[in-house]
Symmetry: C2
């Protein structure tokens, strides 16, 4: 592990229990039956723990969308050609993709990071070009990345968070684009969860039954060929992952070290979060599971991380779309703590007075 | 049934299939794998069917919050005293309650309707005073309302929707306040679903185990005493319901007759929706189930209506809070249809081209 990564991992502190208790007390004093806002209240308490602040301004929000290509597309694991990764990056920059629409709706900016797209992309105000390579190698024929490449991508994730921090952002959502990346994510999840690929794998952007079973075979082969040490998350990431997955692991770790809440999106983010959690379990305290996707592996990853998704809408698009939708719930949770009247302020009889 | 109610029921037309097909076609042409936005796409199709428009401006939104009191509080079925209904109405008008905070966050106005609070309330810009009575009678000792009162409350619901329409509102959410109203709602649900009160009843704002069982007994007694004809939803509503529940049934029916999507909130709204659906099954096509509450009866009601809730956050507050949270998903679904680029516009290879 580089010194940079070790330093970030080292600096991740547990959530602030005092702020959580204070948030709980405030929630109980507000004009509603105790706990009646259910998971919105839990989210409010978590946010207080992450940031150390009970009442805070509405967050300035950003989606960090990491894009990279995957050599494993040689194995016909995707319903779309590899060229779509670069085409979609252009679509993101032109504002025409689902994430643009949903991020705008949530008041969030979108930063796109080319961490390894297999094509040269033109400069753009909203594009950070930090290519580690032109797509990973085919994980079914050897390691997808070297450990050095994986660490480089993680550190790119760090610097992307630092850039957002410098802009005053205080809530980050993860997003990704990369044709073939559900295969890489499934391979990581399979190894780190100790489950066969057939239990983890899903249809991605639209495989049929036969293609799905072939995808599981490809992953099986990749794991047996690379035989990564399951106790070494960096090795698992390097051998089976992708540049954008490593980059997102970096985003998550850095956000946690800066006490920033991090909204996880779908299955690819989930694989990155699993790697981050194995590198530093405390990082989980800064993760918010925005939704549970239609990819079967995602639910298993969230269970392993003991994260309960806020939304369950059968999304399977990625890009950060589920995280963008969940931003409204974060805003709602914070607004409740900030703006509601207490029983005392409103002159409403509290249950405690009545009992 | 009054002529006014019969006319509204008569005028509710099925959703527009052509608009739904057109919305589906547009969704499939947008730059994302088909169906990959899951339930957000289903919602977009439903909204097109309700309004007859595939692409539409972001809706102007209102929460109609009906407040009323319940004679059944004599039976000690609530953790809060009856006076809290009026106190909370004042809190709504002062902007300090959860619904104020969440509606503001969703860009929605809140109209409060006193359809039967057991206290005189001062005039206020955001308060419509249309009292049918000062609280219903105790349903455990006789009918809660006369059929005439129930119909009067339904027609008040109609006029509230008409008032919002005149303001240019095109998305309405239901909300309510009324100490004791989970008891009335449970009684209605029990009869109309044909299930024993013990399966339907929940803790409301915070009953303990013994109080919960006593609440089921009270409802059992109320049903056996009133013995409403389960094939006559108006009689069930009158004998077991409440002014605000009847008012909300009116809001739902009128919204449906005007092709307005109606965001249902929690269990009390669910009981009103069940009555509305029995009066006119086609009205269900205009209902959006915003969430599933922690009250066990709510899930049963939604199953009966074949509505799948968008959110599942263990809310049990009412007021329209779940509906306000779901407004963001409606905005998201409409924005996807309006703002995303097609494969052709963005120059992205479609799966169909590739296959």
């Amino acid at each position: 592990m580089t010194q940079g990564i070790a330093d970030v991992v080292e600096s991740i502190a547990p959530a602030d229990c005092d702020a959580m208790r204070e948030a709980r007390e405030r929630l109980d004093a507000l004009t509603k039956p105790r706990g009646s806002l259910g998971r919105l209240e839990e989210l409010a308490v978590q946010l207080a723990g992450m940031t150390g602040r009970v009442r805070q301004r509405m967050p300035s929000k950003a989606v960090i969308l990491m894009a990279g290509d995957h050599g494993v597309v040689e194995e016909d694991v995707s319903a779309f050609p590899q060229s779509v990764t670069a085409q979609m990056v252009k679509n993101f920059l032109a504002g025409g993709a689902a994430i643009n629409v949903l991020a705008k709706n949530a008041g969030a900016r979108v930063t796109v990071v080319d961490v390894g797209v297999a094509a040269d992309l033109a400069q753009h105000r909203d594009l950070v070009i930090r290519k580690v390579g032109y797509g990973t190698a085919n994980l079914a024929a050897g390691p997808a990345m070297t450990v050095e490449e994986a660490m480089q991508a993680i550190e790119i994730g760090f610097s992307c968070v630092d850039q957002e921090l410098a802009r005053g952002v205080d809530l980050i959502a993860t997003g990704e684009m990369g044709i073939g990346n559900t295969t890489a994510s499934s391979a990581i999840a399979s190894v780190l969860l100790g489950r066969p690929p057939s239990e983890v794998v899903g249809r991605g952007t639209g495989l049929d039954e036969a293609q799905l079973s072939e995808k599981a075979n490809v992953i099986e082969r990749a794991i047996s060929l690379n035989s990564p040490d399951l106790c070494d998350p960096m090795e698992v990431l390097a051998k089976l992952g992708g540049y954008e997955i490593a980059g997102l692991a970096g985003v998550i770790l850095r956000a946690a070290s800066e006490q920033l809440p991090i909204l996880l999106d779908g299955f690819i983010t989930g694989a990155a979060a699993l790697v981050a959690a194995r590198l530093c379990p405390t990082a989980i305290e800064y993760m918010i599971a925005s939704h549970c996707s239609a990819e079967p592996g995602h639910r298993l990853v969230l269970e392993e991380l003991r994260l309960k998704p806020l939304l369950d809408l059968d999304l399977r698009l990625g890009e950060g779309t589920g995280a963008a939708l969940a931003m409204h719930l974060v805003d709602g949770a914070l607004a409740i703590l900030n703006e509601m009247a207490t029983f005392e302020e409103a002159g409403v009889a509290n249950r405690a007075d009545y009992a």
